[in-house]
Symmetry: C2
Subunit: 430 residues, 2 copies
């Protein structure tokens, strides 16, 4: 039997995602009502520019007063697709205080301050959902939080930023340099006018923080995430990767330490073997590998951004929040009971691929090998190449702590026979 009084929904922000959310709520009304068990009604949409033309968005619902909208008191669920920290944090908190559950797509805010928002939601007996904050349409937060709730996740490894994947894919397939590939991404609308958040890895780092917290039942903020962007990846790096049967991807990697007593989270470019399923993730797609003790290796793949895919994730959360409202309950919230500390990057165990320009004379390899040995870093392969009187050495290491690998590189730079370190890149996915 369906309740006839509709659940009221307020929307904060009406850009690409918000317009699509509005379109679905206003056109799929019968389906949404059947799935929720009650009709829903869009009660108001807060925007900055009410006079902008938004096709399909009911003009009479627009308001510039977001605060008044979340304070109305009759709103059941607030959908937040504005982004950024303030005023959004205050708006969400105010919504909680007035009894509304919140569905957000805001990775920056969740990665900065998820714990206090979750606490506020619990305090007011409402839900906080944010599937759309990580990897767009791909169900990832709900599977991690619910489907794998009885398993032990050891590792999350993924491509979670479509812009940088588009750029790297372009560099890989055409041999283009970084700037050229970025220009193409911008022209095609895959990169924003200011691409910093994407290319410097801030966007991926926020997602890594959210995923690590949920996967390991602890608290991880963006400040805990080691972050390197892809602005220094060169066409030569991509070519070196190819020679090794690898490709370069910007990866978000969250790991539980082998002793189980700490976790790490990091974002950086890395070489992965072409045989790894993540290597074939093309264009602006996202894909995330999850390794759990009982489940084994799972992969989730799909469009990581865009209005409609992000709206799909928002709507899934909206249906869940509305069902919970009807049942006067709340869903699975934050789980941070393990309180595992986040270790620094130096503790991460990984492998390096290092290209050195060296003097072309006897004994150089011995000198270089000695430096690796002094830092307890074991060498997997060495490739020597001569070019015009100079030579290059490409070294791939076995697994070692990042601190030891990094110290090795510092020592190599000091050798007279090493003219320069042409590139350093981590090797993952083996």
């Amino acid at each position: 039997m369906m309740r006839t009084r509709p659940l009221k929904v307020a929307l904060l922000g009406c850009g690409v995602v918000g317009s699509e959310v509005t379109r679905i709520i206003t056109t799929q009304t019968a389906d949404l009502a059947a799935r929720i068990g009650a009709p829903i009604e869009l009660a108001g949409i807060a925007v900055r520019r009410p006079n902008r033309v938004r096709e399909g968005v009911p003009q009479e619902l627009l308001t510039t007063d977001a605060t008044a909208l979340v304070k109305r008191g009759d709103i059941d669920v607030v959908i937040e697709v504005i982004g950024g920290i303030e005023p959004v944090r205050t708006l969400i908190t105010t919504a909680f205080e007035h009894g509304a559950s919140v569905v957000s797509a805001n990775k920056a805010l969740l990665a900065a301050d998820g714990a206090s928002l979750h606490a506020k939601a619990v305090e007011h007996g409402v839900d906080l959902y944010y599937e759309a904050a990580v990897a767009g349409a791909i169900p990832l937060i709900r599977p991690l939080r619910e489907s794998l709730a009885g398993d032990k996740v050891n590792r999350v490894l993924g491509i979670v930023n479509g812009t940088t994947n588009f750029i790297l894919d372009k560099m890989d397939s055409t041999g283009a340099g970084y700037s050229e590939a970025l220009d193409e991404a911008t022209a095609l609308g895959y990169a924003e006018a200011d691409p910093t958040a994407d290319v410097e890895g801030f966007d991926a780092a926020a997602k890594a923080a959210i995923l690590a917290g949920i996967a390991f039942h602890t608290r991880v903020t963006i400040d805990d995430v080691h972050r390197e962007g892809l602005t220094e990846v060169t066409a030569a790096d991509i070519a070196s990767a190819k020679k090794m049967g690898c490709t370069v991807k910007l990866l978000a990697i969250c790991e539980r330490a082998r002793d189980g007593r700490s976790v790490t989270a990091r974002v950086h470019p890395a070489m992965i073997p072409l045989s790894h399923p993540l290597a074939s993730v093309r264009g602006a797609y996202n894909a995330v590998f999850v390794e759990a003790e009982a489940a084994g290796q799972l992969m989730f793949y799909g469009p990581g951004a865009g209005g409609a895919p992000t709206a799909s994730a928002v709507l899934g959360d909206l249906v869940a929040a509305c069902r919970n409202k009807l049942a006067a309950t709340t869903g699975a919230g934050e789980s941070a009971y393990t309180q595992l500390p986040v270790s620094p990057m130096g503790d991460v165990v990984t492998r390096y691929h290092i290209s050195l320009d060296v003097a072309d004379k006897p004994g150089v390899l011995a000198q270089v090998a000695t430096v690796f040995a002094e830092h307890d870093v074991s060498i997997d392969t060495v490739r020597q190449q001569g070019k015009d009187g100079e030579a290059s050495l490409v070294v791939v290491t076995h697994r070692a702590p990042d601190a030891a690998l990094s110290a090795t590189v510092s020592s190599l730079r000091k050798l007279d026979t090493v003219r320069g370190v042409a590139s350093i890149m981590r090797v993952e996915g083996e």
Copy 2:
């Protein structure tokens, strides 16, 4: 604040999956308690052979009286990993009547009679969960039912049976025939002594029925699913597929008709292009593509069977069922409001790859082409090959209703110049 009285769990069946479930419940006690919000206690395990040695399974919990166990009245959640229709249906119904939620891995039962079980669960205010029934550890039912609850799924296309995927992968990589590949699968434990359920497609058809029902919010039983196994797939079929840049997979395909007024569900071998992500799913792995209107194309990949992966899915459901018990609520149950009818195979629009042995004389191609035209089936490509006075024609069609394609093949068989139809296979994934 954690409740101290434990939730009581009964386990029906203690084979490969049940032992693994027992191991996790009895060893991960603190983690499970933290995630649920209350400790859980394994209260009894019903088995047929109590004297069999089961490492790590507490002997004192074993009973042969499953009925008495589900009738105890103090059981919060019953986990069913016995399989088959009876006595399991009666046991589950009895569990509901005594106030227990049920977590099941039983695809056969759910595909035969899911609707009445769901109704019983609703009647008694308890949950029925069965993530483990489809694609092992891969979260699929929860993402379809919850994450995509605000979206419109148009298609589910997947490899949902590991045994047959192992066999086809082996045939593809070694050129082996079906029997030889099946023998190897049996020797390695990927196929059961009686492989009928797998190789004849019954297992995949049950999963297709479950997925179609959830994806399209309607009721689909295994009897509605068109089913063809892989026993007739030959080494020659696989070789033909390779020539076309394809591989052969046993696919479960659930589709909403273009007019939205009906759905179809089918299981059969099909050629898919090597560039399709499902083509690279190797060995006993499973992978499922989901196409939704807003989300676009999503893929879920992972181990589709095995004790530990299946236990992971069971435990995820157990945590959800226990949380709901604590909150005195139930989760999202059956959603079958669309009541869309299931159309027969003849209505499915697909493509055929047909190999004909024909007389090597002029006019044969014209005759054959006429037959296709008479049935309104448009030809995409034709390849002619001569061999020892005879000739073969390989025809790939454009998309047409299966009934028309099938009628075309019947007519071709009647032509004097057609000596035989060497193989017919559908082409999917484009």
